[in-house]
Symmetry: C2
Subunit: 331 residues, 2 copies
């Protein structure tokens, strides 16, 4: 048992909590970093997360909890980051111990605002982590269903597939199946782009478009996603695999998705600002829209859906008119 | 206006009614054949279908109604069949006038039980209609949303694209957009196969699988559909176009789909027989499953989802055990 690598999860949200739960099925000890001392002490006392997936009970003896990120980095061989992309930079900036030989996995769906990079690229370019030590954990997976132990499939991507396999083996269980991939760039962009398409689905729903249109929108979204990712990183990939199409569908068709809800409010007539104020946390697709739009300005893929969402969110354009125009560009 | 071809719809169900409505947006006269004298007289008196989409009001002066199929065949240049696949043979057998130069479009999603052929193939092989006079109208399109004039996209397929374009032009309106295709075989198989995948989605839901699994199931379904259709008719097609993926999604994610409901009952523990008895009309996917399974026994595509549904529906196998095995074959 001592040969098992040490694994730590960074973050205290629902996705972080779900990943800790998965690892607890296989490991004697799971490292869990969170910055909130309150949450940490609460978990120690009550054996569940106060704010997210609070129905999930942990055996406290299985958890190595810390609010010292450097202590946790030093502890672990595999570091899994599940902190919202808007805040991950602040946490990474606190690290002052060596990351040499550490294997960094991103379970974050989005762009780091300051660098404008997806997390894997950020690890590589800004933190000099070699690509063979960078990985991605992606869905389709609502954390809430992991809490219920409903069967879910994860894709674990790493250029060095042996590392993806190691991590896979610790995430698998009766209710988690895993698939290994070497497409870290594509899977991470897919995870980010799907949030934009979920906003589009929400706006359409808010405007009164029905199920027939939603299916056309999703069919166009997956084709657009394929074109976008191909420009960023060309390789052989089947865009209909679960990590791409499955992830798009689980979000686009979810009435619980924060991104879809945000879009829905805008379709219903809320301004972007007031929709944001109604939500406890900003939908990640809001930031993703700007980043994706800017990246694609250079790359030139044909992305009418992203462009439409961008104009609605960032140029204050009328959603009804923009979507009317969009419908002529879909097929 | 006299140069406009004459168009007639055969059938009195919801999809037939929706197509008549679309045509009424563009044509002075639309032919409408139905075998039920009661329905026909009811429509004449009340200007709406008694049983399906009864909120749709027709201008009776626009309709040429007849319960004589031969009269209607002689009247029309374009014949659109929207009769459930289980009953279309009975209607076709009544035709004793010439079909020479008639253009036959199928809006039927399924296999003709006796011949084991999709409708387009049946027209060609059993009725000697040349392929250039055969076409397909396909969704994604719930007829109910056409009644509400919610934006929907149709694909009109014909080997002779000029004929597809003519029919398209009469179906298009403010709320209907059309796309032309030359893949009559592929679009028609897709329309049939999606009902099997909707049954699978229903069984999974009935068994308690959640949204994470449904997205994986749909992601695997579209890949399986691609392989199945490629064996039947190999040509360049983008399986993510609306006629294939969109049609799969609108059915697979619909809680109103008869096929999904049928599957759901089986997942909940109903026997196949009792589930069928609960429903007014047999779900088309029930027949499609047998046909698709048998066709694929010859073709040898890898179709674990179809095979699983087949074993549950026709070999009386336990849905829970079969789906447990299926989950190991998906990714």
């Amino acid at each position: 048992m001592n040969n098992k690598p040490k694994i730590a999860v960074f973050g205290s949200g629902s996705w972080a909590t779900a990943i800790v739960k998965m690892l607890c099925e296989n490991l004697e000890t799971v490292g869990w970093y969170m910055r909130s001392e309150y949450s940490l002490e609460y978990i120690k006392r009550n054996e569940h997360n106060p704010n997210y997936l609070s129905s999930v009970e942990f055996d406290i003896n299985q958890l190595f909890l810390s609010k010292d990120i450097n202590e946790m980095v030093e502890y672990a061989d595999y570091l899994i980051f599940a902190i919202p992309s808007a805040f991950v930079q602040d946490e990474l900036d606190k690290i002052n111990v060596s990351l040499k030989d550490k294997i960094l996995f991103s379970a974050i769906k989005g762009i780091i605002p300051k660098s404008g990079l997806i997390v894997g690229e950020h690890f590589h370019e800004k933190m000099s982590i070699p690509f063979e030590n960078i990985g991605v954990i992606t869905g389709p997976c609502h954390a809430e269903e992991v809490a219920l132990e409903r069967l879910s499939y994860l894709t674990i991507a790493c250029q060095d597939e042996s590392k993806a396999k190691v991590l896979s083996s610790f995430l698998e269980s009766d209710y988690i199946k895993t698939k290994v991939s070497d497409d870290i760039i594509g899977t991470e962009y897919a995870a980010m782009l799907k949030n934009i398409y979920a906003i589009a689905a929400g706006i359409a729903h808010g405007l009164g478009y029905g199920d027939n249109f939603q299916s056309v929108l999703m069919s166009n979204s997956i084709r657009e996603m394929k074109k976008f990712i191909k420009k960023v990183h060309k390789m052989k990939r089947n865009i209909n695999n679960s990590a791409y199409l499955g992830d798009l569908l689980v979000t686009g068709y979810s009435t619980f998705s924060r991104n879809r809800m945000f879009g829905n409010m805008i379709g219903k007539g809320y301004t972007v600002k007031s929709a944001m104020m109604e939500m406890v946390m900003v939908a990640e697709g809001y930031y993703a829209t700007k980043s994706a739009y800017e990246i694609n300005q250079k790359n030139g893929a044909n992305t009418p859906i992203i462009d439409t969402v961008y104009r609605v969110l960032y140029e204050n354009k009328n959603p009804k008119n923009q979507f009317k125009k969009l419908t002529d560009l879909l097929d």
